[in-house]
């Protein structure tokens, strides 16, 4: 009974949702190419130029031009007062940045990878995420924590974990994961302008990849809304929801599935918290089948949360059980062949999509 009431309420809210296709398509001119690295660098540059309260902090962000060269050129342009090379003290410098944000300056803290954020997680959760609530709105924390997240290549168990689910479970944080250069620029700018703490999960293996960007994306005022997913590929037979690098894999899987007559809709989640439940539910109500894809550990993950949302809001629309693809439930092995087996591959997504369509997977 309550389920019907909730579904009717969701239908009301779904009617108010604007068209799922990105409006940027209508402005798109000839494709310039931009790497993720350049997208992030330009976003940081423009936001620092527009607002002198924005500053960078992290290991190797200055003299070394950034461990992954994301902050290249920024020390020369803005000086050591605004691009701070820190000692190797994640807990200390993260706390310093949070304390600075209490006073309205806007730190962008770089973690060399988000694995090192575990050294500082007390400050991210307890000092940053919870403070606006604990102070009953008196103190807001306009801070961005950014850096590469998830598996790289051959870096072993302690350098390969994905933290999307951990951070996205915490009230008070916003958690973003870009896929394309448009995402990287738009979401990082939105994160820096946001008055709340934002965890910005990049991907090391995507830094060098190029994506087409329109003139609108290149404009310095370009910004994407936080909390909205994007439909990268429209389809009608099965919904594939993914974030970060797995969006690329999902798109490749969709091409393979098309040859078998399955028309997949690929959703780029962009935002883990707030999660765009409306768009995901609207898509599943259209296709009746769902595959979630993530590189992270499966238990208590992003896919599990999406599955719960579908069951709560759109259970009657499902024609097959939700398929959840995730990384293997083991610490990431070092050997290349084992590492390949520990993260989802395109074939895994294709197989899962076929299973939801009750097709033979051989």
């Amino acid at each position: 009974m309550l389920g019907i009431v909730r579904q009717k309420m969701l239908e009301q809210s779904l009617k108010k949702i604007p068209p799922a296709v990105s409006v940027l398509r209508s402005y798109s001119s000839a494709a310039k190419q931009m790497t993720i690295r350049d997208a992030l660098n330009s976003a940081l540059d423009e936001e620092m130029s527009a607002d002198s309260k924005v500053f960078l902090m992290g290991e190797e962000v200055g003299e070394y031009q950034g461990a992954y060269k994301i902050t290249k050129g920024l020390l020369d342009k803005y000086g050591p007062e605004r691009v701070l090379d820190t000692p190797i003290t994640e807990a200390g410098f993260t706390g310093v940045a949070v304390g600075a944000a209490y006073y309205g300056v806007k730190p962008v803290v770089e973690f060399m990878t988000f694995n090192f954020s575990m050294q500082a997680i007390d400050h991210i959760i307890n000092s940053a995420a919870k403070t606006n609530y604990m102070s009953s709105g008196q103190i807001s924390v306009p801070i961005v924590f950014r850096g590469p997240n998830g598996a790289a290549a051959g870096v072993g168990a302690q350098h390969s974990q994905c933290y999307a689910a951990w951070y996205a479970s915490c009230p008070g944080l916003k958690v973003l994961a870009p896929y394309s250069s448009e995402d990287a620029r738009g979401l990082l700018k939105a994160a820096i302008r946001d008055p709340d703490p934002v965890v910005f999960l990049e991907n090391e293996l995507l830094y060098g990849e190029s994506f087409p960007v329109s003139d609108e994306v290149l404009d310095s005022s370009f910004c994407l809304p936080i909390g909205k997913a994007k439909i990268e590929r429209k389809g009608k037979d099965v919904t594939i929801a993914a974030y970060s690098k797995m969006v690329g894999y999902a798109l490749k899987a969709a091409e393979t599935l098309e040859k078998d007559g399955i028309d997949a809709e690929v959703i780029n989640l962009r935002s883990m918290r707030p999660l765009d439940r409306s768009m995901i539910n609207a898509s599943v109500r259209k296709t009746s089948r769902l595959v979630t894809v993530e590189e992270a550990f499966p238990q208590h993950g992003v896919g599990a949360e999406i599955c719960a949302s579908i069951v709560e809001e759109s259970f009657a629309y499902l024609d097959a059980p939700v398929e959840r693809i995730a990384g293997a439930d083991v610490p990431m092995p070092y050997a290349a062949n084992l590492e390949r087996m520990a993260v989802p591959q395109v074939e895994d997504i294709v197989r899962a999509a076929k299973r939801t369509c009750y097709r033979s997977v051989s």
């Binding site: 200390g92 006073y103 300056v105």
Partner: protein, 189 residues
Amino acid sequence: MVLGRAFEDKCAQMYYYRKMFGFVHLYNGQEAVSTGFIKLLKQQDSIACTYRDHVQALSEGIPARAILSELLDKATSCCRGQGGSMHIFSREHNMLGGFAFIGEGIPIGTGAAFTSKYKREVLKEADCDHVTLAFFGDGTCNNGQFYECLNMAALWKFPFVFVVENNLWAILFLRFIRKDQLSGCWVFM
């Protein structure tokens, strides 16, 4: 100081009458330390403490009624009952909390001092001379964040004071039993 002592005694009484629940940490015997320091501060200066924060909050000028209401779960309190004994915040009085984890307030206070320097040197607010104090106990001097912030504050020359309140106890451990040593540092306690 007298207000601080009376306040803490009242908290103890309320706690034993079961009007107050959860974690409450009293400051009896330590009033002189923070009261003395905070009396010298200007309105724009800020402080960060540990969970033992009632008397610092009183010294900062937060009304006793607002703090006691917070401890008694009233919506009319300084944090609408959302913070509690360990998380007294006040933007107006530059009280940055109230932190549960040992050592957590030190980097926060260091960050506030950073902002003071940033405002003066980058944002060119020439009249900005805010100072920040962090209050913490002798047990906290075992914590890594204390040393990390000593390093950064000295490196970048922040207007920051580390105030160690040596009450001879680290949670429930008497100091003479604990093994710690700060050799090579000037330590005023």
